[in-house]
Every structure is written in C-alpha cells, then in structure tokens.
C-alpha cells in the first residue's frame, strides 16, 4: 500500500470513528449494552434446575411417604408448591403451570415397602419445557433410587457384587451450565456488534446520498472498504476484551487455555462477522432491507451453532450446513480454550474454517462493492 493510500485510509478511519462515537446514545449501545446483556443473559442461561415447582399427591400419609417427600425437598432442586390428596389438583397445577413436576405416592406405599414386595411411586412432568423436564426427571430418579438402596440395605437385601457406576464430569466437575454458556454469550454478542455496525454502513451512505461524495473522492473501493471495516474491528475487539474480562471476573469462568490463542480466534471471527455484514450492506438497497437480511442470517447462525442444541443431534443435512457457520467454529474454540485449556494444536481445523469463511465472504463483498457504488 502506498503512502498516499495509507494516508487516505487513516483519515477515513478517523472520520468513521468520529461519526460512530460522537453520538452518546450510539456510544451507550456499543459499549454499555453488551455489558448489561452479558450480565442478564449470564444469569438467565442456566439449564441447571433449582426450586422446580413440585406438587405432591400423597395417598399414603405415612412416615415412609413423608420421608420420600423430605428427600425431594432436601436436595434443593425441588420446591413443594402444593399438596393434595386428589389427583385432579395435580392435573390442574400442571395445566396452569403452577407446578412443573408432580409426585404421586399411592396408598399402601409404606406397607409394600416393609412387606418386601417393592413399592412404586409416580412422577408426572410438564414436558412442554423439555429441557428442564429431562433434567428434573434425572434428579427425581436419582432420589428415588437412592432411597430404594437405603431401604434395601436396612433390610439386608442389598445384592452383593453388583455393578457400581461412578460418573465424573471432566472440565466442568459440577456440570454448571453457566460455565459452558457464558463464553458462548460472549461470542454471540460480538457477532451481533459486528453485524450491526457493518450491515448498515454502506447502504446508509447511499440512503443519505453521501455515497456519491465518496465516489468522487480519490478513495479506491478497497480503501473505502478497509476504512469501513477497521473501525468496527477495533470497536469489536474492545468490546470483546471488555466482556471477556467481565465473564472471567464476575462469573468466575476459568480461562484454562492461552489468551493469545483466544485473541487469534477472536480476530478471525470478527473478520468473518465484518465480511458478512459488509456483504449484506453491499447487496441491500435500503437500511430496512439490510436489517432484515442481517436478521435472516443471525437467527439460523445462532440456532445452528451448537449454542443451545448440540450439533451432533441435528439432522445430518443441518450438520453439514453448520460447517459454513462461523459461530459454530468460534464457539467450539472458545469453549475448548476457556474450559479444557486446549490450544491451536488441537483446534486448528476450526481456525482454518474461520479463516476460510472470512476470506471467501470478504472476497465476495469486495467483488460486489464497486457495483454497489455504481462503478
């Protein structure tokens, strides 16, 4: 790049930064909103269940049935919101959403326990919240089984030489979903920022009629594109550092891997995000169109990233589509670096994928750009 070109880009970047940052409302959106969002969503994104509203129907009313209920309550996972001796009330509580799980203890529960024939209890779960339902079901099962073993042991009927299953969760020993989710929120917020700031960048100049002015300036299309992307890249990096620090300090998310590896991934990811935003901006005629197109990309990108739903359980075709999704690769890198402490050596396919996506989309945008400007 020649000296004159460098000078032009520098001046243009200055102008872009000034234009972006002069409005206090925009400054708030750029720097304060991501922090608030991280704090809100960091707390919201919790697939661990606690205080699940539980409704009890106890037909037995014995010390044995009360012991079972206490076992549920003592774990802290279940919060007993109501009791009744009529199953109808349980149905109503589930219908209204007052309770998410119902425990029904049949008459004669205590007697079957002591007589040795074995007792059964029923658990009804509101399956409309399938995520929490599955987790709650697991906890409930464990409680009932734990109690069953205690009874068996007390009666001396514990089978010898059975299989003893011991599970341990690596990298996240307490299986806290927050540790897994907060790094992902960081990724999504950064993408949002990149897209927001670039998608409207070029189309805005056109709507305001200032694109003509830029065209008669000595800036070449690639210089213009560079000066549109550099300031956003800078802002996105600042945001990234800002919210990563908050994630680490506030939410106690461990960084087990190397920060430079993280930074490299972030750079590639930001570049990919900017390229996509720029491409949207060059193919759209109005800001409204750009906004809609951006959204059309954003929602599938988040849902098909493995953020909420594991990619391995998606239909095969969708698994292939996710290979084109930069969010997927970035999340894999971020989670692995934050939680497993892995480095570039293990994650190179994701790095390469991110770099390729960034390069291809950037190329497309560069090709489209002169046409957008009417050159």
């Amino acid at each position: 790049m020649s000296g004159a070109s460098l000078l032009r880009v520098r001046e243009m970047v200055k102008k872009e930064l000034r234009q972006l940052l002069r409005d206090p409302r925009t400054r708030a959106v750029i720097f304060v909103a991501p922090i608030i969002q991280l704090l809100l969503f960091g707390y919201a994104m919790n697939t661990d269940i606690r205080n699940t509203a539980t409704f009890i129907v106890d037909h037995d009313q014995t010390s044995a049935s009360r012991r079972l209920i206490d076992a549920f309550r003592a774990t802290g996972y279940f919060d007993i919101v109501g009791r009744s001796d009529r199953p109808r009330d349980l149905v109503r509580a589930l219908d209204k959403g007052d309770a998410m799980i119902g425990l029904e203890i049949p008459r004669g529960y205590s007697q079957s326990l002591t007589s040795g024939t074995g007792a059964s209890v029923q658990i009804v779960i509101d399956g409309t919240e399938s995520n929490s339902a599955t987790v709650a079901q697991g906890y409930a099962q464990r409680i009932v089984q734990g109690l069953a073993i205690e009874y068996a042991a007390a009666a001396g009927r514990l089978p010898d030489g059975g299989i003893d299953l011991r599970t341990r969760a690596w990298y996240n020993p307490n299986l806290e979903s927050r540790v897994y989710n907060v790094p992902a929120v960081v990724g999504v917020l950064i993408l949002l920022m990149c897209l927001l700031l670039t998608a409207l960048a070029v189309v805005r100049e056109r709507e305001f009629g200032t694109l003509d002015q830029l065209m008669v300036s000595p800036l070449t299309p690639s210089e213009l594109m560079l000066s549109k992307t550099l300031p956003v890249a800078l802002i996105a990096l600042i945001d990234l550092v800002l919210i990563s620090v908050i994630a680490v300090v506030w939410f106690d998310i461990p960084i087990r891997g190397s920060p430079p590896a993280l930074l490299l991934a972030a750079l590639l990811y930001i570049l990919a995000g900017l390229s996509i935003g720029l491409l949207i901006s060059t193919v759209s005629k109005t800001q409204q169109e750009a906004f809609m197109s951006m959204f059309l990309f954003l929602q599938p990108a988040i849902i098909l990233s493995g953020f909420f739903y594991p990619i391995s359980s998606m239909p095969r075709v969708f698994q292939w589509i996710t290979i084109l999704n930069p969010v997927r690769h970035f999340l894999e890198i971020v989670r692995a670096i934050f939680l497993k402490g892995e480095g570039i050596a293990a994650l190179w396919p994701q790095y390469v994928a991110l770099a390729l996506i960034a390069a291809v989309v950037m190329r497309l945008a560069v090709v489209r750009f002169p046409r957008t400007m009417g050159m």
């Binding site: 919201a44 919790n46 995520n131 949002l192 409207l200 709507e207 305001f208 800001q287 409204q288």
Partner: protein, 196 residues
Amino acid sequence: MIVPGLVAVIMSILAAMLTALTIAREWERGTMEQLAATPVHRLEVVIGKLIPYIGIGLFDVVVTTVVGLVVFQVPFRGNVVLLGVLTLLFLIGALGLGIFISAALKSQLLATQVALMATFLPALLLSGFMFSIASMPKALQLVTYFVPARYYVTVTKGIFLKGVGASVLWVDGVAMVIFAFVGLSLAILAFKKEIA
C-alpha cells in the same frame, strides 16, 4: 417441543423489526415534514402504520403454525380463536413498541440496534423459551415480567401442547392487554412530541 415457543420468539422479533425502522426512515428521508403538514392526526398515523403490519404479522403466525403442524407434527390441542385473539393483542403491543423505538430515536442505525437488543435476545433467553424462568435468580425473574414474549410463550405452549383455555391463560391475557396498551401509548406519545 420447542416449535410453539419458537413461533412466539419469531413473532416477537419480527414485530419489532417490521416497525422499528418505519418512522426513523421518514425522519432520515425528510418525508416527516410532509407527513406533519397533512391533516392526518398523530393517532391516525400510528394506527395507519400499525394495521398493515398487523396483517403481515397475522399472516406470518398462520404460516409458522401450519409449518409447525405439518412439518414438525406438533400437536394442537387448544382453541384456535383464543390463540388468534391473544396473538392480535401481542402483535399490537410488539408493533407499538417498535414504533416507539423508531419515533424516539429518529435514526435507523440506532433503531436497528435498540430493537435487536430489546427484543431479539430477551425473547430468546428471558422468555422461558430456552431456559426455565424458575431457575433464574429472583432479580432476573422480576426482569422477565417486562419481557412480553414471556407471556406469549406461555400462551403458545399452553394452547398447542396442553390444550388449556381461557380459564388458565387469562393472567397472561391480562398482561398482554397491559402490554398492548403501554406499547400503543408509548408509540403515540413519542410521536406526538416530535410533531408538536
């Protein structure tokens, strides 16, 4: 069983997106003065901006619902009319919110950003669609009461999956009436200030 909730999330984003730019656009293009010079009343402008988008929104609900039923085989156990009425209420509120954002900010860039942040992520994460509200910290549970998608997610899940009726959903219905009223009032207020 995420489809009914997804319908609600898509609608809440779409509604704010449709209207978020509509008034900021008039400001940026300079057509606002023309609009102000006509004898159209502010209320009429807001309603005029609202009605086409209600049509579009309702159409989208029908499309997403049909796709959910046919492609994903989601059961529909409740009352169609009830779903229609509550959807209409929800749309009025959500579209009103979009108009408010647009009229208050007067810049398409800013309106885009605020609309996305105020609707997209909260609808996804704080509505009970992905994460159970009961497991959130108390303070955050309070915040969710201000996320309109929360009520609509309850409504779609209730009607599609549980087949519950007005006797159960009236609480959410009332919340949505309040939301529609607030959304619409904010839109008219923000608009009034500008023209005067």
